[in-house]
């Protein structure tokens, strides 16, 4: 039987606010020592009251607008009740019937065609404390809690079950990540846990319109792992069904090292969250004016930017996609090109091949570097293009020079001078060197006269050697050939 895969994704992204969701504790918990970003509110002390962080609400509205959602005018928070030690209050403040944003979509480019994936809802909630589970060799088990992460603003984006392959899921995540980074609402870093994805995976006979029992897969820490976990899960489900089994609706955890999913039904009982409107927080009214103001303030989004780069700079689709991977990269490209649109493709080549290679090796991104460094690189790339165009240095030398620009921050012209790299393109100097080479290698000259082509190559090599590699090879070829031909006469 032919099977169809059905995938829906739930993404939790931490928002880049200065303070937490419902209290004024700093939200920068990542590198903080345990329990040092905590106050009575996020510690769930009796008698404390939460207050909504305005920026977090704005960030969810912005995200909603960026993925074509409607923004609910009337919304409120709910209590989601469940007893677990990572929740200090015994409940999580979340949103249930009235999310801030709903009914959106994103277009993906999959194998040459456009695939639209629906976004059911985007709501705002709070993150939970971090737990470490300790298992002593004595058999004793307990958990340690760090409350720092408790109540960091968390935005949950739920997709429609519209994806049909692990690759579509991977693209959906990559695109959502890039949008969140572009509008600056989240670092969207999966490895650091500021962007987490749960995948709902089911299969059904091709052509069927009902959904199969779905399995929720968790614990993936990269977009690649998400694709792998889904692939594994699809194959597992097909095997179960084809052997006459039944898919159990359950939660399974992805085990990266073993490349498989395992059931997580330990003592879990059916969830009974008893949601009800959060009495400690008055409802939110989001005015249409506020929505319009935020819409106008949105930066150019990746898709629009890519199309503009193709139109305005006549770049191929591949270049445009690479250059718009991050907002910082796109800005760097534009500042480097400046008003000189004719140079756009050359700049793009430098960024995509050389700069990207150096950044990848340094495991950094453009926006990890200070403004002054970016300025040096911009100037550097422009100078490199000019130096190569003028024949001052070869393109191979240029790459080595740019390595140096990248690591030392020096200007290319200075490096070229310092290293004495400049090519010798002065004809009279070259002629002198060629005369020396001819005088020193009478046998090769004789071979050339006798019609041996390899002799020419040998003599070019000798000229390059005499010039310490600085002779302009194109000029040497022409001049040497002319000289040798005249000797034949």
């Amino acid at each position: 039987m032919e099977w169809e895969t059905v995938i829906g994704l739930e993404v939790h992204a931490q928002l880049l606010t200065q303070s937490k969701m419902f209290c004024a504790c700093p939200a920068d918990y990542q590198d903080a020592p345990p329990n040092t970003r905590v106050c009575p509110v996020c510690l769930g002390m009796p008698g404390t009251l939460p207050v909504i962080n305005r920026r977090a609400v704005e960030y969810v509205i912005m995200t909603g607008l960026a993925v074509n959602c409607e923004i609910n005018e009337h919304t409120f928070f709910d209590r989601k009740n469940y007893p677990y030690p990572d929740l200090m209050k015994g409940y999580q403040i979340s949103q249930f019937p009235m999310p801030i944003a709903k009914n959106g979509w994103m277009d993906l480019e999959v194998e040459g065609h456009t695939k639209r994936v629906g976004i059911t809802r985007i709501h705002l909630e709070e993150d939970v404390a971090k737990m470490m589970h300790i298992h002593e060799p004595t058999g004793e088990s307990y958990s340690l809690i760090d409350v720092n992460r408790s109540s960091v603003p968390l935005m949950e984006t739920v997709s429609e079950p519209d994806m049909r392959s692990p690759e579509e899921a991977r693209q959906y995540l990559t695109k959502l990540q890039s949008i969140l980074r572009f509008i600056g609402v989240s670092t969207a870093d999966m490895e650091k846990g500021s962007f987490r994805c749960d995948a709902n995976v089911s299969i059904r006979p091709k052509g069927s319109t009902t959904l199969g029992a779905k399995v929720e897969v968790k614990n993936m820490n990269s977009t690649r792992s998400v694709a792998r976990a889904i692939q594994f899960e699809v194959e597992r489900q097909i095997k179960v069904l084809e052997q006459g089994g039944r898919i159990i609706q359950e939660t399974r955890g992805w085990v990266e090292e073993r490349g498989l999913t395992v059931s997580q039904r330990s003592k879990e009982v059916a969830s009974d969250y008893r949601y009800f409107p959060e009495p400690d927080l008055p409802p939110l009214v989001i005015s249409r004016e506020q929505v319009n103001t935020l819409r106008k303030a949105l930066p150019e989004l990746p898709d629009a930017l890519r199309e503009r780069f193709m139109a305005q700079y006549a770049l191929p689709a591949y270049d445009a996609r690479q250059l718009t991977a991050t907002r910082a990269m796109a800005q760097f490209f534009e500042r480097t090109v400046g008003g000189n649109k004719g140079r756009a493709k050359a700049v793009s080549n430098w960024i995509i091949s050389e700069l990207s290679r150096l950044l990848a090796a340094a495991q950094k991104e453009v926006d990890d570097y200070p403004e002054a460094t970016l300025k040096t690189w911009s100037t550097g790339i422009n100078q490199m293009i000019e130096l190569v165009d003028a024949g001052t240095i070869s393109s191979t030398q240029a790459k080595a020079v740019f390595d140096e620009v990248f690591t030392t921050g020096k200007e290319p012209t200075a490096i070229v001078q310092e290293k004495g790299l400049a090519q010798v393109s002065d004809t009279s100097t070259l002629k002198t060197i060629i005369d020396d080479a001819i005088a020193g290698n009478p046998q090769a000259v004789a071979d050339y006269k006798a019609g041996k082509d390899t002799a020419m190559k040998f003599l070019v090599g000798q000229v390059m050697k005499l010039s310490k590699g600085k002779a302009n090879p194109g000029l040497v070829n022409g001049l040497l050939k002319g000289k040798l031909e005249s000797l034949k006469g």
Partner: protein, 97 residues
């Protein structure tokens, strides 16, 4: 709407309250009574009425995104049932599979 003994026990376990059989009996009666009172709302036609989420006439109360110094760590840990290093220590609630 009458609650069964099982309903009462389920709700009690969700909110982590230990109840004796005698208490289950009393609560079953009392809670059923309360729910029956709400049933009387069904007599009204509420088709055109928005569900009420909050009774206080306030909306959109928010704070600016500014952080303040958090509590000193020793105060954070003061009320913890048990601590280990700078962490709060608790019993295992769910075994990780």
């Amino acid at each position: 709407m009458a609650l069964s003994r099982e309903d009462v026990k389920h709700v009690a376990s969700l909110v982590r309250i230990a109840v004796t059989d005698a208490e289950v009996e009393v609560l079953q009666h009392q809670l059923s009574n309360t729910l029956e009172q709400f049933e009387s709302l069904k007599e009204l036609n509420t088709d055109a009425v928005q569900p009420t989420s909050h009774a206080v006439p306030l909306s959109s109360v928010m704070r600016e995104d500014k952080s303040r110094d958090p509590m000193p760590k020793q105060d954070v840990l003061k009320n913890a049932p048990m601590i280990e290093g700078d962490f709060i220590r608790v019993r295992v609630v769910l075994e990780e599979s």
